[in-house]
Amino acid sequence: MVAHKRVTQRNEGSSWVSPDILHAAMVGDYNEALAAIKEDANCINQLNDTHQNALQVAIINFHEDIAFLLLDETDISVKHKDALGRDALDLALFGASEELCERINDRWYEEPDPDVDSDQNQPVIG
């Protein structure tokens, strides 16, 4: 397994020097997620080693508060597919609450289909 590598340094204690949306989604740090979104709205485009965005990372780690935050405050894609070809709705339908599934399901039918030729949709792991 290749763990998500943090690029930013963390302070010893409870705060971070620079908030990282993927790290926040992985560990369930709501404040860090909020700070990351405020600092850089484009952080929602960051991907981890399995090509998952923050919403997918939050779902796979059962951090639904972060998932709802991302849905409420950002335009994060619910159709972006990870290295295994699963989008946020696939992951939510497998392992999230019905409430979160319905939220993502509604967004899924509204969001335009991604460009399949985009580099972003190419798997990064073998």
């Binding site: 699963r86 339908l93 039918y109």
Partner: protein, 328 residues
């Protein structure tokens, strides 16, 4: 039949349908259906008329009825105007369609449907003569002596419903736990919270399989899910994050015959967890070519005390997220 009786019957039918397929089950099937149609846009087979023909050829309903009832609905589902998840007959037709035309996508079904499907597929590989000769009711009744003998051939692991959870243990091959080479200590130092690996089992009211999960004590990023195939004493699991398959076979521990709670792990395919620990084929451990890691034997053991409570809470949380109403 009066109008009121008809209405009652319809309500009962819908309730039964909703009990059989949770909202997540229905949404996942419809999503795959819509995706399949989009991917085949412009293709003759994705046209509503052809879909109706396909439905008809796999249904007992008349062509006219199917056309009248579902042509417009399919158009609306395709356009995203309706979800099509509340009509029992339509859902069954769509589900059947998806399973026939988009089998590669069924990995994206809800946990409950996936587990059912994996279970049915695995049955093909683990079928034996006993299956056809011993009915479930006979096993449960357990009244015939031969049946008792057959049943006792399999190891029955306890489920989370019995407040039981297992931990994967590691000890030196010679039976001592002194860790003279310091491998375990080094692993624990390098990967705190990663060395505790738990296995939990949930009954799914199927005499062939139980729903199972394997996870770490420190977090739930590394979650494996799958089935415990009862009659083969084996776990077939898949990593939720990375998709890696994993099989773990178990048998009664020959070193601890008296201890009913401990089982040797003897997986045919070695389990590499995070590159940290390995569950290997125990028979090969005496091989002189094995490195130090392989000199450790692995076992499954019931967790007790405070550790049990913590692990149970985590396992319950995971099961709840995967199959909330346990409608497996």
């Amino acid at each position: 039949m009066s109008e009121r009786e008809q209405s009652k019957l319809k309500t009962a039918k819908i309730l039964k349908f909703q009990k059989k397929y949770s909202l997540k089950d229905r949404l996942s099937v419809l999503k795959i259906f819509v995706e399949h149609l989009k991917e085949n846009k412009g293709n003759e087979f994705s046209k509503p008329k052809r879909i109706i023909e396909d439905f008809y050829s796999h249904s007992d309903m008349s062509y006219d009825d199917i056309f009248e009832l579902y042509y417009r609905k399919i158009e609306n589902i395709k356009a995203g105007k309706t979800r099509g998840i509340d009509d029992p007959e339509l859902f069954e037709l769509v589900r059947d369609f998806v399973f026939r035309h988009a089998p590669k996508k069924i990995m994206c079904l809800s946990a409950a449907l996936s587990i059912k499907l994996i279970g049915d597929a695995l049955d093909y590989f683990f079928t034996d003569d006993r299956k056809s000769t011993i009915a479930l009711s006979q096993l449960m009744r357990n009244s015939i002596p031969e049946m008792k003998a057959e049943k006792s051939k399999y190891i029955t692991l306890l489920s989370i419903d019995e407040s039981a959870i297992y931990k994967v243990g590691f000890s030196k091959w010679d039976g001592s736990d002194n860790d003279s080479m310091g491998i375990k200590k080094n692993l624990e130092k390098a990967y705190p919270n990663k060395i505790d690996i738990y296995l939990a089992i949930m009954n799914v009211h199927d005499h062939r399989h139980n729903f199972s999960i394997l996870f770490y004590g420190g977090g739930v990023t590394d979650l494996y899910y799958g089935l415990n195939v009862i009659k083969s004493d084996i776990f077939i699991l898949k990593n939720w994050h990375y998709g890696d398959p994993l099989s773990i076979q178990y048998k009664q521990d020959e070193w601890d015959r008296e201890d009913n709670d401990r089982y040797m792990l003897c997986s045919g395919k070695s389990l590499t967890v995070n590159g940290v620990t390995e569950i290997t084929n125990s028979e090969r451990a005496s091989d002189g070519f094995m490195n130090d890691h392989w000199k450790y034997r692995n076992w499954l053991e019931l967790v007790k005390g405070k550790e049990k409570n913590d692990a149970l809470v985590k396992a319950e949380m995971i099961f709840d997220q995967l199959v909330k109403n346990r409608n497996l």
